[in-house]
Amino acid sequence: MSSVAVRACGLVKTHGQGQSRVRAVDEVDLVVPRGQTLAVMGPSGCGKSTLLHLLGGLERPTDGEVWLAGRRIDTLGERALARMRRRSVGFVFQAFHLVEELSAAENVELPALLAGHSLRQARRRASLLLERFGLADRARHLPSQLSGGQRQRVAVARALANDPTVVLADEPTGNLDTAATLDMLRIFEGLRSAGQTLVIVTHDERVAATADRLVSMRDGMFVDDTRLAGSHPRGLGGLIGLED
């Protein structure tokens, strides 16, 4: 098994044509070892989300290569990409993107069912994850009946349903209040401790501070790559100005 979870070489993504052509991601090289939590920061429009989409196979690069768990994915067809996503990638979005007409448990079961697991297996896995994130009593609730924080926890549970190689989170706390953000920080901390590879795009320094490594982007390029201590002596509450 490759020790590298995600690798990108010379990654380029351009939008538009002619004079309005924009290089959203510009010659990016990136290696994310297994178990690492990588935070990507930068101003709006610098290409953070596009990078995340490229790493997860949601978009195809204009140039360059993307490798996931030792397998090149930028050359895969749509069906193969879908299969790769369902087994190897977990997405967490700022806007949650839960299926509104399915309950919390059914949303979490979704990737397992897509991967061909039986309903029983999918239910067992979803039950464990919801329990882990304190949502066991909300399993049958529809997303509209959940708070923003609870919805995002369901989204994280869904992202972990197939035990993915990497979890890609795009502004996961962007729509959350302080208390829900604190919850989410705890969850990411727990995932990091459990050895889950995480790539988190964020504007929030408190979220970035939970990472092992921080990459800063500007105009589609990496401008800084910093190894963080990875421990937070003051605790998570301290990070957001609250004491635990």
Partner: protein
């Protein structure tokens, strides 16, 4: 396995969430498939009714009819009974032509003189009361129903009063009012009912007023299918004899349904069109939501095929459920529709396999055509784009802005809203035209002058064929109008929802809710206007394919009034959804858009 569960789960959840849309689709498909299955099954159903009646009444394979009576005729007919092809016979018996009056109606009648104990061939099935006895008469059930008389009532035949002792059905004659198979001396026949009396009563009736009498013989052949061969084998009889085969009789039964089939089949196509436009409008209204859902399913690993399966399965399941409902309705309705008279046993009529298959294909077509575009859009849209999908941006039309700027605000808004979705405007126009076509057909059916089934063409006994046609056109028109109503409301609401940001901006810039509401209504009325105008000649043209040459046309003022009434109804129908949409909070709409 997991994917199937997922598709089923998504379908069920989506149906639960959009119950109204599901019900509309179900009912629209049910209406279209029921009408089509009925239309296509009529011929087979009519044949089945005749077959069942023939079997239950030992119906003759051939009826030999002479326009005269007397020993020579009786002898010539009786010689046919000795033919080697004949295995059984009934008669010769006398048929007396008379007038029958009740308290309320008068009609021509043919009286068959029968034995008190029926023979082996042509044994009328008594459906109420008892078989003939001296002094009493049995009326054919379809005739009795048209007269409104039953067992115990009295009727007057050629001035003589008889108690009705029973009602019965037979396969030896055509359905009411075609009981007179040939006229006296082989001449023409009037609309007539059928009555039975004992042989002696029939003889007494005929001689009392010197009434016209003909003679008939019912024959059962060794090979029931060989009726033509039997006729051809007996060309040189001493008297002129007319042979009526059972196949001819079965064919005659369909005459009363001659217009029913095109009414139902053409009606079903129109219903199908409205169902597709309505469901397509509903689907288009949810296109953004569907695309977003497709995006998030793709993000968690769903393939394009699975996305298409989930989207399509929902509409297919609803369409097939609607098809099943429509077929059940058609099965229940077919005996009544296929037998406008009560002259046949009417519990045998069912749907033909071809009708079921065609109706099911129609339901699948509705599902495919109404979901194809949103499904393809959801499949083709890139995942990231789909996750942030917004309403489709209309094309910029530089000519429209200065043109509409000259108009009053509601007209300005209406014209621009119409121009945003030209395809939908065309559908709205077609939907209106379809409604007007149906109304034109209904009006045309009501201005026809028909010969009634009463004495000398009196309408005291109505023309059942015309009545039946009008009832069917009315039913189809009601269904078409119901679907058109749903479509108009759907079009208005979908337009309002898609343009909510623009209308909110217009209100922020000073447009009143009334102007916005009027603009939304105008957006539906603009395409409805050409639709209503085109519907009149289209309706007249369509009817010309099926109408008789001497058919009367409704006065132009009536047709114009129908088109105008359709437009007014459209305006009224758009008022409520337009009003509700125009009252939405501007601030909430704009902030939701920027969130």
């Amino acid at each position: 396995m997991g994917s199937n569960v997922l598709v089923a789960r998504l379908v069920m959840a989506d149906i639960r969430r959009h119950r109204v849309q599901a019900v509309v689709l179900l009912l629209a498909v049910a209406a279209a498939t029921a009408t089509m299955a009925l239309g296509l099954s009529l011929r087979g159903a009519s044949g089945a009714l005749y077959e069942q009646t023939r079997a239950a009444t030992a119906g003759p394979d051939v009826v030999a009819l002479s326009g005269d009576a007397g020993p020579a005729v009786t002898s010539a007919l009786a010689s046919l009974a000795d033919a080697p092809e004949v295995v059984a016979h009934h008669g010769p018996y006398r048929i007396v032509y008379a007038d029958l009056t009740t308290r309320d109606a008068a009609s021509s009648v043919v009286v068959h003189g029968f034995a008190e104990t029926p023979g082996t061939v042509n044994r009328p099935l008594v459906t109420s009361g008892r078989w003939v006895r001296p002094g009493g008469t049995v009326l054919e059930r379809g005739f009795a129903a048209a007269l409104g008389v039953g067992v115990g009532d009295r009727v007057t035949i050629a001035g003589r009063s008889y108690p009705v002792v029973g009602t019965a059905v037979t396969a030896a004659t055509s359905v009411y009012p075609g009981a007179a198979q040939i006229g006296p001396y082989g001449g023409p026949v009037d609309y007539s009912g059928l009555a039975w009396m004992t042989r002696s009563d029939a003889r007494a009736l005929a001689s009392s007023q010197d009434l016209p009498v003909t003679t008939a013989l019912d024959l059962k052949l060794r090979d029931p299918a060989a009726t033509d061969a039997f006729r051809d084998a007996h060309p040189d009889l001493a008297i002129r004899i007319t042979f009526h085969s059972w196949q001819f009789r079965a064919e005659q039964d369909t005459v009363i349904l001659r217009n029913s089939r095109p009414i139902l089949v053409v009606g079903s196509w129109l219903l199908c069109f409205l169902a597709i436009t309505g469901v397509a409008a509903l689907a288009a209204g949810r296109a953004v939501e569907q695309t977003r859902r497709a995006g998030l399913l793709k993000a968690v690993g769903a393939t394009p095929g699975l996305i298409a399966a989930a989207l399509f399965a929902e509409y297919l399941a609803l369409a097939l459920a609607g098809d099943a409902l429509g077929l059940v309705i058609a099965r229940l309705a077919v005996p009544a529709v296929a037998a406008p008279t009560a002259s046949r046993i009417s519990d045998a009529a069912g749907l033909t396999g071809a009708a079921v298959a065609t109706a099911t294909a129609l339901a699948v077509a509705v599902a495919v055509l109404s979901t194809l575009r949103p499904t393809l859009r959801a499949m083709r849209t890139a995942t990231v784009t789909a996750l942030t999908a917004t309403a489709h941006r209309p094309r910029h039309r530089p000519w429209l802005t200065p043109l509409s700027a000259l108009l009053p605000t509601p007209l300005l808004l209406g014209l621009r809203l119409t121009a945003r979705r030209p395809g939908r405007a065309v559908l709205q126009a077609c939907s209106t035209a379809t409604t007007v076509i149906a109304i034109v057909a209904l009006l045309t059916a009501h201005v026809q002058r028909e010969r009634g089934y009463g004495l000398d063409g009196s309408s005291v006994l109505p023309n059942l064929r015309g009545e039946h046609d009008r009832r069917l056109i009315l039913a189809v028109t009601i269904l078409l109008i119901a679907l058109a109503v749903v479509n108009t409301i759907t079009f208005t609401w979908t337009t309002a929802m898609e343009a909510r940001t623009n209308t909110a901006v217009a209100r922020a810039l000073g447009a009143t809710p009334g102007q916005v509401s009027a603009g939304l209504s105008t957006a539906q009325l603009l395409p409805s206007l050409p639709g209503a105008i085109a519907g009149v000649p289209l309706g007249v043209g369509l009817l010309s394919f099926f109408a008789a040459r001497n058919a009367a046309a409704p006065p132009p003022s009536l047709l114009l009034g129908a088109a105008l009434a359709t437009l007014l109804a459209t305006a009224a129908l758009t008022a409520l959804p337009a009003y509700l949409a125009s009252r939405r909070s501007v601030a909430r709409t704009l902030s939701a858009e920027t969130a």
